[in-house]
Symmetry: C2
Subunit: 306 residues, 2 copies
């Protein structure tokens, strides 16, 4: 967050600067060629987390390379632990500024770099996962799930919109608020949605029945960070994830899938949030808790085949 | 807390300036006369909370008057909502500085004012409750409990020492730490003691069996503030109070006693901590949660007569 994103005590997320798209037929100028693009992520960032989950679920690891930044970000923005092996960058800002020397916003992950034209194609995180799901279909592993089935897209998009506004971005609106009323509005909307999702998951294994979809991919990163960070650091403390029996079992059910659990790094998550927001946590001290057992049996197999 | 109380990233609580004592026989110069002394408290402060509990348990309401400060404290220290009706003070600092013009520390509650000599007798909070229990015995209500029985004092004092160091003051050491190691040391000691208390309370209704003692009076104020404040604001987040079945039921058992529940003001508690520590919570936003049911049945009556 930068100061420009707070207005009247409310957090207003900046627009995404790079919105080109990679297409299967190359009509956009960016054809979906294996080995051509590099995805930059942080394990801490929930928006980047989505892209890692989808890349692994679909078996795109060989087709799309990944560069991972350090969890701790200072005023210079995201940084690589060592010089990025493909682009040679030390800071993510280098890629933003070489693509657009006039860029003045926050340098965000996820973003996708084109190694041919040597520029950023997109940092438009809501579209990166669906781009992987549709435009890269020819490169999916055999038997990869259809995360964004044509017949469900309208419903998935509608649910994603509510989840984005009140949950994914809702926790940020609560945590970054500097006005009590802006905080309370975000808090109320967040828990209203979580209560509804808790009911929805009582009789369904995943948000759209017995198969994982893009909707699960978008909800999970927020649930994974909820008790570790958002509950305390962002003051989202009406209830913890573990106080919702269905949501908590659902989150563990997803965690047991390698694409979800294997991309979830609680150490990066905690160190990032507590170490990167001096306006919320001036001491930079990182809490040792909470005690959570993500590998406890989820008991949801009877709800669907998965 | 003031900056002088942080040393090498560690919180070191200031010594108590006023340490005179009121005595039943008047040998200290301050005889235990009903109506002579005024107790100053904040409902937010755990050290002051003790004195309110004891005053009510022992029926000392008529003998010892009370002045309550505002929950929000700024750089001028505690303030009265309106001019204190007995001393005429607007700020608690006036009573400290009229008693000792050279005083430079933090103005703390609880403290006891003598209306005859017009000075502070004591702000030595560890001794105020036992002073009410022993020196004011002639003024206790008929049938008042013996909170500090002679035959248990050594054991009560020993337990209180551990509880003070690791729990009552332990949460402050965790929350005010600016160094990770100081925080973690306080955190580990805190939860080690809570784990031991959880076991101790499995077979005993109160810390010393079937009657409430000074030990319960000292533990309760920290438990009452634990999930509402210390868990998030002071990063004491391994487990919540509600995750400890015995401690949580014990806390509700005490809450059901008017001297405990009737002196517990969650609104003052939350507004005070979140509004008074800009070095921990710069925005001053007060969390709406957590959802807790302090009046749920405690189910502990079978453990003792109470």
């Amino acid at each position: 967050m930068i100061a420009q994103e707070i207005s009247g005590g409310r957090f207003v997320r900046q627009p995404n600067r790079f919105t080109d798209t990679i297409t299967a037929d190359g009509s956009s100028g960016y054809p979906a060629e294996p080995g051509r693009y590099r995805l930059f992520v942080s394990y801490a960032c929930p928006w980047a987390h989505r892209t890692l989950i989808v890349r692994r679920l679909l078996g795109l690891e060989a087709a799309i390379g990944v560069g991972v930044v350090d969890p701790i970000r200072d005023e210079r923005g995201w940084r690589f632990p060592e010089r990025d092996e493909v682009t040679g960058a030390v800071f993510l800002s280098e890629l933003y500024l070489s693509s657009d020397p006039s860029f003045e916003g926050r340098y965000t992950v996820p973003c996708v770099w084109d190694t041919v034209t040597e520029r950023l194609v997109t940092n438009d995180y809501p579209k990166i996962t669906t781009m992987f799901e549709t435009e890269f279909a020819a490169h999916h592993r055999a038997g990869a799930p259809d995360l964004y089935p044509a017949e469900l897209r309208l419903e998935i998009d509608a649910l994603n919109e509510v989840v984005f506004t009140t949950v994914n971005n809702g926790v940020y609106k609560a945590g970054f608020a500097t006005a009590q009323d802006a905080y309370e509005e975000a808090f109320d909307a967040l828990f209203e949605t979580l209560d509804r999702l808790e009911e929805r998951l009582a009789g369904r294994r995943y948000l759209f029945g017995d198969r994982v979809t893009e909707a699960d991919v978008r909800l999970y990163p927020t649930l994974a960070r909820f008790d570790a960070v958002y509950y305390s650091h962002f003051k989202c403390n009406l209830r913890r994830l573990v106080d919702y029996p269905n949501l908590w079992a659902y989150a563990r059910d997803l965690y047991a899938i390698p694409a979800f659990g294997g991309t979830t790094d609680f150490d990066h998550i905690k160190r990032h949030y507590y170490g990167t927001h001096p306006h919320i946590n001036p001491s930079g001290v990182v809490p040792k808790g909470p005690a959570m057992d993500w590998t406890a049996p989820h008991g949801r197999a009877h709800l669907g085949t998965g």
